[in-house]
Point group: C2
Chain length 254, copies 2
DNA sequence: GAGTGGTCTAGACCACGGT
DNA sequence: CCGTGGTCTAGACCACTCT
């Protein structure tokens, strides 16, 4: 684990465990920063870095004048777990599956050009995959990859379960993601693959992922059957990463 | 603005403007931390605090060895804008409206007890409101308030548009929120108020908000008509506040 | 008034990316 | 190799909460 090689992450992991283990009780108060610094034998700055992580995750509050208060255990997954359907499935004890329906190389459409920051006319690798949990259809994944990434995807065996893990092995790193969550209605492909009526409502997540250098790595539209997943976000007055947008989703009936 | 009374927030706001103004170009590189420190006449630590804000918002990347790269302008709203339907509506140039359908005081149900951290048998104030944008129905809001907050809500005039703003005036501060986003299907109340068929799919946001001391302030379930809103979240490998959960949503048809 | 977290500084060393 | 951001330290002062 990456959590093990840096001081403040070790401290954060330890504190997270202590909170989850009920050491401070739900609703309880954490020791003062100075006390924690002494306990771990590190400086106050390092303790503050650790606590910033817990705070961002909604584990504790913090305000001037009083000790931090436990908000609750963190349900938040690691970034990799969130991006990878496969890793997530395993973490909840289900058997992930993926069936590649089609993989085509074609000129990027308007949306893809913008999201992947490509010059007009550039080609993308477009994959359509059905994802399953223990055999049951759960999600349809439409992903566009820039050719740098798509070439690797195209070379993978047809029965590859996790593209994300494979891409990681090829040095493609996922560093940042921007998600948009709303509703969509099943088109003929969705209906056929998911086994739902055409026009049925699906939970849609559109996502652009970039690498550490800021280059887009994928642009994906995932559509989940109702009742299979929910998304949770924590935010605070200090840092808000969540927004409400006016949507332009198509209406039902087609 | 609160952004004006602290050094690193001033710097962050200035940098955010510069990025939005295209000073560094999309895809461009920011000056080095040391250069920024000198330019603003502050220490490197302060610059790093400012940049941490931009990073959390998805404005810039950062990695060891190279300068930060501009990812894009930040669409993220302030925390208050996100929590308040009213403030959000105004920010997109629409006229917000709210019709209070009912406000009852009753014992909390199982879910409310947990979410608001109340002792069994405690009463809550439960409000059902129809929210409109320029007269058009958009969302149904079912909110449970602990009595400390509910008493204030109950005293508000029936035509109050923004509860959030009023509560703020009474010293109730919203500091942290946990959101869960998924699908729900219109019950008879939803259908009647929103003017959609019973069983129609709606985008659901459930939210627990706490004050700076960590005490729950509200527990709300909001249901949006399709095509009216979408939620966007940014996250990164450094701090992930987004999770995918197994959902237990009810199925359509009831 | 005592204790706490928030802000800011100055300096050090290291890991990494590019040349 | 140099320049960069990441980590860590030590210390200072302030704003705030609580009793």
């Amino acid at each position: 684990m990456d959590d093990r090689d840096v001081l403040y992450r070790r401290v954060a992991a330890d504190l997270r465990e202590a909170v989850a283990g009920g050491v401070y009780g739900s609703d309880g108060r954490l020791p003062a920063e100075s006390a924690l610094a002494e306990h771990y034998g590190v400086s106050r700055g390092t303790i503050r870095q650790a606590l910033a992580l817990l705070r961002a995750g909604g584990v504790v509050t913090s305000r001037r004048g009083t000790r931090r208060v436990v908000l609750g255990a963190a349900p938040a997954q690691s970034f990799a777990e969130l991006l990878s359907f496969t890793t997530w499935a395993r973490s909840i004890g289900e058997e992930p599956g993926g069936v590649l329906e089609s993989l085509t190389v074609r000129p990027a459409d308007e949306e893809e050009l913008t999201r992947l920051r490509l010059r007009p006319g550039t080609q993308v690798y477009a994959a359509l995959r059905l994802r399953t949990l223990s055999g049951r259809p759960v999600m349809i994944e439409r992903t566009a990859y820039p050719s740098r990434v798509g070439r690797i995807v195209a070379a993978l065996p047809a029965d590859t379960v996790s593209y994300t893990e494979r891409l990681l092995g090829h040095g493609i790193v996922f560093a940042d993601a921007e998600h948009t969550i709303d509703l969509a209605f099943a088109d003929p492909d969705d209906a056929r693959l998911l086994g739902c009526p055409e026009g049925a409502a699906l939970l849609r997540e559109r996502r652009r992922t970039t690498d550490p250098a800021g280059r887009p790595v994928e642009w994906s539209e995932d559509r989940y059957l109702p009742g299979t997943v929910a998304f949770t976000v924590h935010n605070s007055i200090a840092t808000s990463t969540l927004s409400r947008l006016r949507s332009a989703a198509q209406q039902p009936g087609q």
